[in-house]
Amino acid sequence: MAARWRQWLRDRLSTSRRFNRDLDVELRAHLDHRTEDLVRQGLPRDDVRERALREFGGVERYKELVRDERTGAGLQALAQGSVADLRLAGRRLRHTPVFTIFAVLSLAIGLAVTTSAYALVASLFWKPLPVRDPDRLAMIVRPASAGRMTWRSVMSPAEFADVAGAQRSFATLQATFPFQAPMDDGIRTEITEAEAVTGGYFETLGLEPALGRLIGAADDRAGAAAVAVLSSRFWRARFGEDPEVLGQLIRISEQPFTIVGVVSGAFEGLDVVDPIGTTVWIPVSAAERLPSRPARLERQSRRLSAFGRLATERNSTAASAEVETIAGQLDAADPLKPADESAPAARRWSVRPMSDALRPPEDVGSRLGWLTVIPIVAVLLVACTNLANLMLARGADRANELAVRRALGGSRARLVREMLAEGVLIAVAGAAGAWLLTHAMLVAMSMELPVSAGRLLTLRPMLDGTTLVVAATLLAGSVLIFGLLPALRSTRSDPRPGLATAGLTIAGRRNPWGPIRWQVATAVAFFLVAAITARVVIDQARHDSGIDLDRLALGVVHFDRQLGWDDSSARRTIDAILSEARRQPGIERVAAATGMPFGQTMTPFASVTTPDKPFREGVRSSFAYAIASTPSLFDTIGVSLDRGRLFDHRDVAGTQAVAVVSEAAARELFGSLDVIGREIMLQVWARPPVLAATVIGVVRDTDVQFVRSRRSGVVYLPLSQYYHPMLDLVARTSGEPEEAIPILRRAVRQVDSTVPVLTAGTGPQVLAGNYVLLRVVTALVIVLGGLTLVLAMVGLYGILSQVTTWRMREFGVRMALGATAGRLRRMALAQGFRPVIVGLVIGLGGGTLLRAALRAYLNAPIDLIDPLALVFVPIPFMVAASLACYLPARRASRVDPNVALRDL
C-alpha cells in the first residue's frame, strides 16, 4: 500500500515536470518561429530576438498564467465536487440520526470536557508567570529544609540595602515581602495575600497597568502616600472591572491605602505555587507602618525575597558568586546570632534563574495536578475509541453499498471522498458543539471558594491553546482515520469479496468482536488508572489530623493595643465572650487560644530547651509551637490527654508556671514520655525573655504547622499566665459548623461591638490548607470518572447493538432452520458477552500494569490492586452489554423467517 502511494506521488510530480517541459518547448518554438519570420522580413538579427520577446509579452508570466489555469481548474473542480460531497454526506447523516448524534456528542463532550477540565487544573496548579523576558530574571535563594533552596524569607531590609548597594551583577535588584493581612475593601473584610514591594518591582518584571498606574520609585520613599495596586483577578471579581475604583480607599490591617492602579494580565505575584495569587501590592515603605505582627516589616526580620534583572553579559552563576562574596563580607562585619532552628548560622545566599527558583517542590500537592490530568486523558481516549468504533461500524454498514458501486465502475477516489465528507461534517458539528459546551463549562467553573484562613480562591479557568489543539487533533483524527479506513479497505481493487460477505465484516475483517474487546479494555484500563487519583484525593481528605476538624468553627479576634486594649481589659472581655458563646445552642464547647497546632500562619513558635541545656549562642535548641489557651481548648478541639493533667482554673497568674506538651515535644526534649514534673525553658518567637514552666501533662500528637506534617512538637501554656492580643476563638458545634460562625460573631458583638472578628470559618476552611483544592479536584475526578464510564457504556451499546442488527439475516436463517426465539436470544447474549468479558479481563490486567508503572514513576503511595474499583468497574459494562445484546436479539428473533430468507 505504501508503494502505491509513492507511485501516485511520483506520477503527480512527473506530470507536473512533463507539463512544464512541454510548455517550455512550445513557447520556445513560438519564439523561434517569430524570430525567423522577422529575419525573413529583413530585420537585423540582433534586434529580432528582442523584438520577438517584446511582442510576446512576459514569457514567464504567460507560463504562470497557463499553470494557473491548470491549478485553478483543478481547484475549481475540487471545490464543486466537495460542496456536492458535503451536501450528500449531510443527507446521509440525517438519515441515520442515532449514529450522527452519538458521534457528534462523543466528539463534543470529549473535546469540551478535556479542555475545560485541563483549564481548571492548570489554573489551580500551574500558574504562568507573565513577566517580560523571564530568562534575564534571577532570584536570591537560601537553603531550606531537605536540601532544597527557597526564595522566601531570604534577607532583612538592612541586608537588602547592603546587598543592593554592593552588587554589580544585577542591573536592578528588587525586594518583595509577601504577607497576609485583613483587608477591608468597603464591602467585607477578609484575610488576603499581599506583597510589599520596592519601587522598581513592577518595572523590573516588565508589567503594565491595566488601569491607572503601578507602584514606582516615588512611592517607595519614607513619607510617601500609602498607595495600593490590585490584581486583575481581584478587580474583576470584587469590583467588576469598574474604572471608578481608582482613588478609592481600602484598609489593610486597618491602615488606609489609596488604590492607584490595576496590574494588567494574569500576573498574581511570583508565588506560582499558591493557587491564591497576590491580591494587592503596597510599597515596602508603607508596609513598615502596618501595626500588627507579622505584617510589620521590622528592620531586622528576614522576611524579604530578592530578585532582579541580570545586567547584560552577566549570568546567574556570576551573580551567585558575587552574592556569596557579599554574604561573606556581611557575615564578617555583622555576624548572625543563631538563636533557634529557623535562623541559620551564616548567610548562605546564592542566585538562581527565576524559573528554577520558583519551581514548586516535588510533593503530593503539585503531584496532584498531574494525577488529575490522568482522568482527563482517560475521558479523551475513551471518546476517541468511541468515535473510532462508530466510524468503523458505519464503514462496515456501507461496505455492501460501496462494493456494489465499485463493481459498477465507480471511482475509488470518489467513494473515499464521500466517506471523508461525512467525517468532516461530524468533526465540524462536534467542534461547534464543543465550543458551546466549553464556554458553558468554563463559565460554570468560575466561582469564588472559601479557602483556609478565610481567604477566597477565585477560580477562573482560562482556555489553553495547546490542550485544545491536542484534544481536537486526537478526536478529529479518530473520526477521519477510522472513517477512511473502512472506505479504503472496502474500495480495494477487487470488489467481489466485499459483495459476498458484506454485513459480517468490519473494515474488511470477518471478526467484529475485535473492536469491542478493544473498546472495553481501554475504558477499563483507564478507569482503573483514574481510580488512583480518586483514591489519593479521598485519602488526603480523610486524613486524621489529630483534632476534630469537622465540627469546629473559628474566629480570630484582635485586641489591638493601639486601640486601647491591655492585658486585663482583654482578659475580661475574653471571659465574657466565652461564657456568652457557651450559652448559645449549637455550641458545645468553646475556647480561646493564641494559635492552633496547624493551619494558622500566625501561631507563635518558640525555641524550647531544658534547664540542663540553657540557651546559648551557636547552640541549636528545639523548636515547637507555643499555644497559650484557656483550659477548655483540649476538649474543644479534641486533643486527648496521655498522662498527667491539663491546666485548669487553679493555674492562674502568680501560681506555678505550668505547661502541657505534646508527645513529640516530650520525646524531643526528654527522650521519653515520662516527663511530668520536669522543667522546660522557652523563648517565644525565639527571643527573650526566657520563660520557665513545669510540665504537668502530655497530650496526643496532632499535625503541626501544616496538615500531614508532624515534624515539631507543641507546648500548651495557660492563657491566664501568658497573654497575646490576637486570639482564636474556637467552638465545637453540635450541628453544622457553618451555622456556628454567625453565633460566634454575635457573641463577640454583644459583649463588645468594637472588637473586630477578623477571620471566621469552619475548621476545614480555616485550618486545612488546600482543603478546598482537594474538594474541587475530588469533584472533578468523580465527574470525569463517571463520564468515562458513561461514554464507554454508550459506545459499547452502540457497537454491540449494531453488530447484533447485522446478524438479523443470520438469525432469520437460524429460525427458519428451527431455532427457537429463546435460544437465539441466549446465543446473542452469550456471543456478545464474550468479547466484553475478554475486554474486561484485558483491561483489568492492563490497568493494573499501568498502575504499577505510575507507582514507580510518581513515587506515590498507590495500591497495586484497588478492590473497590475492581468490583465496581465491570458492572456498567455488563449492564450495557446485556442491553445491547438482548434488545436487538429480541427484535431479530421476532422477524418472520420468510422475510429473513427473502433478503438472502
Binding site: 512541454d22 510548455l23 518547448v25 512550445e26 513557447l27 518554438a29 513560438h30 523561434d32 518561429h33 517569430r34 525567423e36 511582442e55 510576446f56 509579452g57 512576459g58 514569457v59 508570466r61 504567460y62 498564467l65 497557463v66 494557473d68 489555469e69 491548470r70 481548474a73
Partner: protein, 113 residues
C-alpha cells in the same frame, strides 16, 4: 485605419476556435491566423493565446498532438474537437444575435424610441 481596439474578455477564445476551424495549427500559426482574421486591428500580447489555448483544451473543445513544424521544430498542434465545432457554431450564433440587438438599440434615433 481605426485605432487598435482591445479584446473584450472571452472573445479571444471564440476567435481562436474560429481560427482553428480553418485547420490544425500550432500556437504561432493560430496567432498569425488571428492577425489575418482581424486585419491587425486587435492588439494583444502574443503570449495571451497560450492560456486561452490551454483553457480550450481543458474544456475539451480542442485536442492537441505533437508534431514537427515547417522549419523542423517540435511544436504542439491544436485542432477543433467535435464539441469545439459545436461550441463555435452556437457562440457565433449567440454573438451575432447579441450584436444585432445591441446595434439596433444603440443606433435608434431619438424619434424612434
Amino acid at each position: 485605419m481605426s485605432p487598435a481596439t482591445s479584446l473584450l474578455p472571452g472573445t479571444l477564445d471564440m476567435l481562436i476556435l474560429k481560427a482553428l476551424s480553418l485547420g490544425e495549427r500550432h500556437g504561432y500559426g493560430v496567432l498569425l491566423r488571428l492577425q489575418q482574421m482581424t486585419g491587425g486591428a486587435m492588439t494583444f500580447e502574443q503570449g495571451a493565446v497560450y492560456p486561452a489555448l490551454y483553457r480550450l483544451k481543458r474544456k475539451r473543445l480542442v485536442v492537441t498532438r505533437w508534431g514537427t513544424s515547417e522549419n523542423n521544430r517540435r511544436a504542439r498542434y491544436y485542432s477543433l474537437s467535435a464539441d469545439g465545432r459545436k461550441q463555435l457554431r452556437d457562440e457565433t450564433h449567440s454573438w451575432n444575435r447579441l450584436v444585432g440587438i445591441m446595434a439596433d438599440a444603440l443606433n435608434r434615433q431619438p424619434g424612434e424610441v
